[in-house]
């Protein structure tokens, strides 16, 4: 199928304004989102506009590959705080993830519990709306309450309200050292209790994950200057003594596996991503009985591989939260909205994309 790859925001705007049918907008195409319509790729909008390490800010065009940005930041010992997940193996896709795609999907990595969500790093956007208008919102400074925050609205809207062309973001220092506490054999209930205790301590935990299975593993991450990480590992060790034997590791790569949801890579069936209150997670997990699973965010995020016929949303009924189908078929991708929320969302869609041509139907 033909793919349009505009080289400038103006060219994209002109194309959208003149479009006479649905547009399938993608970044690197690594999320495995099924789209119909004329394909619009953002790969022509690539490049760094501004990088000020001393101000922790970066402005890039939306089609810039994430790998390129991470390499640039690494030179200054900085990083994307929200740890964008590389979903290619899990979902079975090819291509290079782009920064626009990362913000359009707002999927945050393990550090979300400490450094905020992907959307919390987004300071400003430029986008082309469904009528072909170019719009700017936010800016490149860290504190900005000038007018409505459409930056947040664009993050996680999967290109359905507008096509991101440029993003300004906050970056953070890359920690000197990573340390991990590893518990073996905890039940989900014990694991969430241990993670909650760690996250409720003053020791600035930046990752808390649990991988159930025949030999369950619970991981707690600390980052910073080496002496500080050593100190906090020792303190947490004492705080979590009731949870049994623990191993401390320095400089481990295990967090890349957590980030990319490796425990589910070999699983068959559908892949669900479920956001709940951590204390509700063990019960939800017990109801699901997944083939493979992982809890991230101290229990607040469940990844589950389920048979194609199983509806993960039944397990979330009665608790606050929602489930997204990230791989597979048989159910809508997004959790149904309440009637008042759906009404607001529909009105917004009608304003931002009056002809309903931007990734139509994707978020319904």
């Amino acid at each position: 199928m033909k793919m349009i790859c505009p080289k400038s925001e103006a060219a994209l705007a002109e194309f959208v304004a003149g479009a006479d049918g649905p547009l399938a907008v993608t970044g690197g195409g690594t999320q495995g989102v099924a789209l119909s319509g004329a394909r619009v790729s953002l790969c022509g909008l690539s490049g760094v506009e501004l990088y000020e390490p001393g101000a922790l800010t970066l402005v890039v065009q939306s089609g810039t590959p994430v790998a390129k940005i991470e390499a640039l930041l690494a030179k200054e010992n900085q990083q994307l705080a929200f740890e964008p997940r590389d979903m290619r193996v899990l979902i079975g896709t090819q291509g290079d993830p782009t920064i626009g795609g990362v913000f359009a999907t707002n999927l945050s990595g393990p550090r979300r519990i400490q450094a905020g969500a992907t959307r919390d790093s987004l300071l400003g956007v430029r986008y082309v709306d469904g009528a072909g208008q170019c719009v700017k919102n936010g800016g490149r400074v860290m504190k900005n309450v000038t007018g409505y925050d459409l930056v947040k609205l664009m993050a996680g809207s999967y290109g359905t309200l507008g096509i991101l062309t440029e993003v300004a973001l906050k970056v953070l220092p890359r920690p000197e050292t990573v340390g991990t506490l590893r518990f073996v054999g905890l039940t989900p209930v014990q694991a969430v209790a241990a993670m909650s205790k760690a996250l409720g301590s003053p020791y600035d935990v930046t990752g808390a994950a649990h991988i159930p299975g025949t030999e369950p593993v619970t991981l707690i991450r600390l980052e910073g200057f080496e002496a500080s990480v050593q100190y906090r590992i020792a303190e947490l060790h004492a705080v979590l003594a009731e949870f049994g034997e623990v191993h401390a590791e320095m400089g481990t790569d295990v967090w890349r596996d957590v980030r990319d949801v490796k425990p589910l890579h070999a699983a068959s069936g559908n892949i669900w991503r479920i956001s709940v209150k951590p204390s509700d997670a063990p019960e939800v997990l017990a109801q699901l009985e997944p083939e493979a699973a992982m809890m991230d965010w101290g229990g607040g995020l469940i990844w589950a591989a389920l048979p194609e016929s199983q509806d993960a949303r039944l397990a979330v009924e009665g608790v606050a939260g929602h489930a997204t189908l990230l791989r597979g078929d048989g159910f809508p991708r997004f959790h149904p909205e309440s009637a008042p929320v759906a009404k607001l969302a529909n009105r917004l869609r009608a304003k931002f994309d009056p002809r309903g041509i931007l990734n139509p139907g994707l978020m319904r």
Binding site: G54, V135, V141, K143, P278, A320
Partner: protein
């Protein structure tokens, strides 16, 4: 300050409105006597005043919903109000509007330490949220300087920040869910104790919408365990440029202080005269605070001192104990009080990229000469949020107008430097007419479209945020 002319039809229906509200609220929750409505004639932007038609103080989300439904039916504008501490006139009424105050809704609904969240009614003050979790050594991170008085409702409306947001973020980064009532009375639940809400990020749009999209009655907030300790260091420099370069080098070194505060010479002198904190007499002064255990604090402060020493500071003072730490903060914390002693002052709130700091400060100095008014600068340097304080004499005819014109020039300068009009106070009425300096008409249209979706008849706080000429057609059509 231009405000829309009150609608005579609404004024004529006051008695009818009061009698309908009496079927919803207790008598003491309806304030309609002309003397008593004066209490609601302004917020902390006291230069502008107008008593509302009446004020209501509901106690429950249901009452808020019922009140809004009646006002919607009768086409009466509503101005939501938290504690009335807005410096931007966010809660300034018009004569035909109903003030909807949430002050009586101040309960803690749920405290959940294992999940690290608290759910409160939004009339609760910012500091008392932290107070409610203090016994377990937890706190609510956003700390606007009005935190003793300001309400969570207003914090959400303005997306308030504070001195410590370099590390902990502002309100939007710490808000997980809300119960909100739309102008037509519909109650909407967004988010909750789980970390990310599904679907479109409506929560992110509500936060900072200045009470124009809905009235937030309950909020789920993230709470954190307090750090083990915190300690500041004070560093003096003989130029703003060097101080700015030092800030940049500290950030580049990989240390993330919880606060980096910057004061210029006029501010240092005023604070010293007022609070006698023992500040050095120099061009620029930084207060850098770090957190952690004793050893972690010492390690970070050593690195900061090493960086500072490369910039030839005229003074470098590390707090050795709690008393010395308090003295370092004393001057900074009394900056506004110090200014108030000398003069009337207007506090601005633009943000700039940290790299443009020397340029912007130099230019503000030139503008100060041009307008003939003194200005002192104190600001959160880590995130570029400036607070220039322009000194004027309210009793001198024309001085307020000169001050406002000077302020507008400074804010335009912030935008030119790559920053924005307001970092944490909000637009309100104060910066409404400058919006077209930061955004094009098309950019504003996208924001107006959001207002259209939430409040199609433009009844909620309608005269704020956007230039009146831009919104007139919508307000009149409604």
């Amino acid at each position: 300050m231009e405000m829309p002319r009150p609608d005579p039809a609404v004024l004529a229906r006051k008695a009818q409105l009061v009698s309908r509200l009496r079927t919803i609220l207790a008598d003491d929750a309806i304030i309609h006597d002309e003397m008593e409505t004066r209490a609601y004639e302004c917020d902390a932007l006291t230069a502008y005043k107008c008593p509302p038609l009446l004020a209501v103080l509901p106690s429950t989300t249901q009452e808020v919903s019922d009140v809004l439904r009646v006002c919607h039916d009768m086409n009466v504008p509503v101005v939501p109000r938290g504690s009335g501490t807005s410096l931007a006139g966010g809660a300034l009424p018009t004569a035909d509007s109903v003030i909807l105050g949430v002050a009586r809704m101040n309960d803690v609904l749920e405290t959940d330490y294992p999940n690290r969240v608290i759910r409160v009614q939004t009339g609760r003050t910012n500091l008392s949220v932290s107070g409610a979790v203090e016994e377990e050594e937890f706190f609510y991170a956003p700390d606007p300087s009005s935190q003793l008085a300001c309400a969570i409702a207003g914090n959400i409306a303005m997306n308030s920040g504070g001195a410590h947001c370099l590390k902990y973020g502002v309100t939007t980064n710490n808000l997980l869910g809300v119960t909100m009532v739309l102008m037509d009375g519909t109650v909407v639940e967004l988010g909750g104790a789980h970390l990310d809400a599904g679907g479109l990020d409506l929560l992110g749009v509500i936060c900072g919408s200045e009470g124009q999209l809905g009235v937030v009655t309950e909020a789920t907030l993230r709470i954190l365990h307090k750090p083990e300790g915190a300690r500041p260091v004070l560093i003096g420099f003989d130029s703003n440029e060097v101080a700015g370069a030092c800030v940049s080098d500290i950030i580049k070194s990989g240390i993330l202080p919880v606060a980096i505060e910057f004061m210029d010479r006029p501010c240092i002198r005023a604070c010293e005269a007022f609070a006698k904190a023992g500040y050095p007499d120099c061009e620029a002064l930084l207060i850098v605070e770090v957190e952690g255990s004793e050893a972690e604090i010492a390690f970070q402060l050593d690195k900061i001192k090493e960086i500072a020493n490369r910039h030839n500071p005229v003074e470098l003072r590390e707090a050795q104990d709690a008393d010395q730490a308090a003295r370092i903060w004393l001057g900074r914390k009394s900056a506004f009080g110090a200014m108030g002693q000398i003069n009337d002052y207007m506090c601005l709130d633009g943000t700039i990229p940290v790299s443009s700091l020397p340029f912007v400060l130099r230019r503000i100095g030139e503008l100060s000469q041009k307008f003939g008014l003194e200005v002192a600068n104190v600001f959160h340097a880590g995130d570029g949020n400036m607070h220039p304080l322009i000194l004027f004499d309210a009793n001198k005819p024309g001085d307020l107008e000169t001050c406002e014109a000077f302020g507008a020039e400074i804010l335009k300068l912030c935008v030119e430097a790559g920053g924005c009009l307001t970092g944490e106070h909000g637009v309100g009425v104060e910066k409404r007419d400058l919006m077209l300096h930061q955004y094009t008409a098309g950019d504003l249209d996208a924001q107006l479209a959001v207002k259209d979706a939430f409040d199609p008849r433009w009844l909620l706080n309608p005269a704020k945020v956007f230039p009146l000429a831009v919104t007139e057609a919508r307000r009149v059509a409604a």
